[in-house]
């Protein structure tokens, strides 16, 4: 039985095929120095990274904390950029990513007949990631994505989270008790009376 729970927007993009999705990562790759892309010197990852792999990583970070109609793609592109930039200078990260992707695609091909990024339903891709979720490769991307969204002030307004308030005088005059759908709390007089004043 196939459970179709995918968001239409994702479906459309998936139908375009992996290589065509490379355009989503081009701007990210442009921000990372050329050596990481074309391969140079003895950087193991640099030699193996291509657009498809970057696109797969981008799909992964979108699948880890998916907010398809909610956050702009640029949030995820920035996560990817951070990871790739680290891979550029840290061989350990480069190897982790290269081998992690290889493993993920092997599992995906075995189970679904196609590489990870070509798996058409979120539930199936999530299932693949659940298998590898205790590994360092996945957790690296999970924490990078978490940081790129939930502790990123640029993403906060979309969640209605307003961040630092002391410089604005707190919320005492800015809506800490502004809900009109709830009964009001006690008045100051009532609160004074409650403590015997």
């Amino acid at each position: 039985m196939s459970i179709q729970t995918e968001h239409p927007k994702f479906k459309k993009r998936e139908s375009e095929g992996l290589s065509r999705r490379g355009f989503l990562v081009k701007s990210v790759l442009a921000g990372v120095s050329a050596t990481a892309i074309v391969g140079a010197g003895n950087n193991a990852f640099a030699a193996t990274l291509n657009e498809d792999q970057a696109a797969t990583l981008l799909q992964m970070v979108q699948d880890i904390f998916p907010h398809p109609d909610f956050l702009p793609l640029s949030i995820y592109q920035d996560v990817l950029k951070g990871v790739l930039t680290e891979a550029e200078s840290t061989e350990e990260t480069a190897t982790l990513l290269a081998e992690g992707l290889k493993d993920l695609n092997a599992r995906s091909t075995e189970l679904h007949g196609v590489p990870y990024a070509d798996v058409d339903a979120y539930a199936k891709r999530e299932g693949l990631l659940r298998i590898i979720q205790d590994g360092a490769f996945f957790q690296k991307l999970r924490w990078a994505t978490w940081a790129g969204i939930y502790i990123n002030p640029e993403a906060w307004p979309q969640f209605g989270y307003e961040g630092s308030s002391w410089e604005h005088g707190g919320y005492i005059d800015r809506g800490f008790s502004d809900a009109t759908w709830l009964p009001p709390g006690p008045t100051l007089e009532e609160r004074m009376k409650a403590v015997g004043k």
Binding site: I64, F65, P66, H67, F70, Y122, E126, L129, R130, Q133, D134, F138, Q139, R142, T145, W146, I149, Y150, I151, W156, F159, G160, Y161, E162, G163, S164, S165, W166, G169, G170, Y171, I172, R174, G175, F176, S177, D178, A179, W181, L182, P183, P184, G185, P186, L188, R191, M192, A194, V195, G196, K197
Partner: protein, 526 residues
């Protein structure tokens, strides 16, 4: 006037830690003219260091010294090196506490008498009663500036988030619903301003509306000229003489060099992990099982409160992040009523989590990711919820032990913090989740999330108070049964946990202890 005491000066009281216990003790003694040296393991957080940044402050304030989670709770897997959420720094965990200042109820001092022996629990009565502690609760509330009758300060105004809880609680028939008592000024008082509903109470109060010892007790103590505070000084060992009397402490200074400070009295206030650890690490040929441990109870009976969270998506926006983090408490389930299937009771406390912490605590562990979590977080602004704080039963198996091989930066064994919930705890938590489901359903909640136990900020019991020296570490004054001039001045002395956040009781006990120390010093008994 800043005091400076000689390291050989054996007339001083050495206080280890500067939080709710240590900071208060320093000031109480100073006001009585008794000199003390406070040794604080951490540094100083200046006002500029305090930011409204949940994650940034977590990294800045949290005590990340190596310790391990163990036992049968999920944190052994999901929070393997963060069993507790505590602060290492001047002011200790009063910098990040939320300000909830509840008193214990009468039955909570005599849980064994009320309920009899409980299988697999190390039940005991406190050697003191509520009646004995009440005058000290009053003094603690006046000192700290707790909203309520003792100070005459009204409780804080109700935030949206509390209005959700209060109305839901009212609809299911609850009546004990208040926005206090909180140690947060609701009016300008004692040189500190009224709360501006900034939020981020647990990241340190930017304006000082919340009581914390770094801005109240410690400066007041130093002002007397009777108290010297040495920060970045980690006490490694308590020393004693041939008669078994404490003589002073060995500590590592900011540069890592070992120093000694002589003492007439030593008071340990390092919180319930570091306090027993220090006693155990101070083992000697005379006290091979650790100092003050003839009962074998040092490091045992560790309690953290039955705790968890319930957050639900409401039909309208709540703006949970606006306003004080925890000014809202429902107390109807506090009485001891075994008909519910468990003994002891619990509070429901409105609790704001910012988006960063919500995203970490809604689900836990390696599997905390995916569409369900992301969709729940997209409704962040509609979430409302509580922290459950319930009586946790003492068990000998729960406690602090020393790692066999792994050492910290000072060469001392790192602590292993073990927690396995008692069946009573599990039944209480289940009940509390059920009650919150009803409360949120009454508010037409769309989805409800049950949050698993948190790394513990309420740590109690590891040097417990008991009348019988064979069953507890300290007497009713917090004085160790084995060493008359060695005192414990923090939550470690709790015999049982009650359902109240521990800080107010720690402060009340320490005010009382300071009187006793002064009396015994004057009488030359110590």
């Amino acid at each position: 006037m800043t005091a400076k005491f000689d390291q050989d000066d054996d007339s001083v009281v050495v206080i280890i830690g500067s939080g709710a216990g240590g900071g208060t003790l320093a000031n109480e003694l100073a006001q009585k003219g008794i000199s003390s040296v406070v040794l604080e393991a951490g540094g100083v957080f200046e006002n500029d260091d305090i930011e409204n940044d949940e994650w940034g402050m977590f990294l800045k304030l949290t005590d990340f010294d190596k310790r391990y989670s163990a036992g049968g709770w999920h944190g052994a897997q999901n929070h393997p090196t963060l069993p507790n959420w505590l602060v290492k720094g001047l002011g200790g965990s009063t910098v990040h506490w939320a300000g909830v200042s509840l008193r214990f109820h009468e039955h909570e001092f005599k849980m064994q008498t009320v309920n009899g022996d409980i299988q697999d629990a190390n039940m005991a009565d406190w050697p003191i009663t509520l009646e004995e502690l009440e005058p000290y609760y009053d003094r603690a509330e006046i000192k700290m500036g707790v909203t309520g009758k003792a100070t005459g300060m009204p409780h804080l105004p109700w935030s949206n988030d509390f209005r959700v809880l209060a109305e839901g609680a009212r609809r299911v028939g609850y009546t004990k619903i208040e926005s206090g008592p909180m140690a947060i000024n609701s009016v300008d008082r004692d040189g500190r301003p009224a709360c501006q509903q900034i939020g981020f109470c647990m990241q340190g109060c930017k304006i000082g509306a919340k009581w914390s010892t770094d801005i109240t007790e410690i400066p007041a103590a130093v002002e007397t000229g009777k108290c010297e505070v040495r920060t970045n000084c980690m006490v490694l060992q308590i020393e004693h003489d041939e008669s078994g009397k404490a003589t002073g402490v060995v500590y590592a200074d900011a540069d890592g060099n070992q120093q000694r400070q002589a003492a007439r009295v030593v008071a340990v206030a390092g919180n319930s992990i570091e306090t027993p650890r220090l006693l155990l690490n101070s083992a000697s040929s005379m006290f091979p099982d650790g100092l003050a441990n003839s009962s074998g109870q040092v490091g045992k009976n560790y309690m953290v409160h039955v705790n968890g969270g319930v957050y639900s998506e409401m039909p309208e926006r709540v703006h949970i992040h606006r306003g004080t983090q925890v000014a809202g408490i429902v107390a109807d389930e506090v009485p001891n009523n075994p008909e519910r299937g468990f003994i002891g009771g619990y509070h429901l406390e409105k609790l704001t989590l910012g988006l960063p912490v919500m995203s970490l605590f809604l689900k836990r562990g390696n599997g905390a990711w995916g569409r369900d979590l992301a969709q729940a977080l997209e409704r962040y602004d509609y979430l409302s919820g509580v922290y459950i704080v319930g009586e946790d039963l003492p068990q000998e198996q729960n406690g602090i032990t020393l790692h066999d091989t792994e050492k910290d930066q000072h060469g001392l064994p790192v602590p292993i913090v073990s927690r396995t919930p008692h069946n009573n705890d599990e039944r209480m938590l289940k009940h509390a989740y059920g009650v919150m489901d009803k409360i949120h359903d009454a508010m037409d909640a769309k989805t409800t999330h049950h949050l698993a136990k948190y790394p513990a900020s309420h740590n109690m019991g590891t040097a417990r108070m008991h009348e019988d020296p064979a069953r507890g570490v300290v007497n009713k004054w917090g004085q160790t049964h084995d060493i008359p001039n060695l005192f414990i001045s923090d939550g470690s002395v709790f015999t049982t946990s009650g359902a109240a956040n521990p800080t107010l009781t720690i402060v009340a006990l320490v005010i009382r202890q300071a009187e006793y120390i002064a009396q015994e010093m004057n009488a030359n008994n110590i």
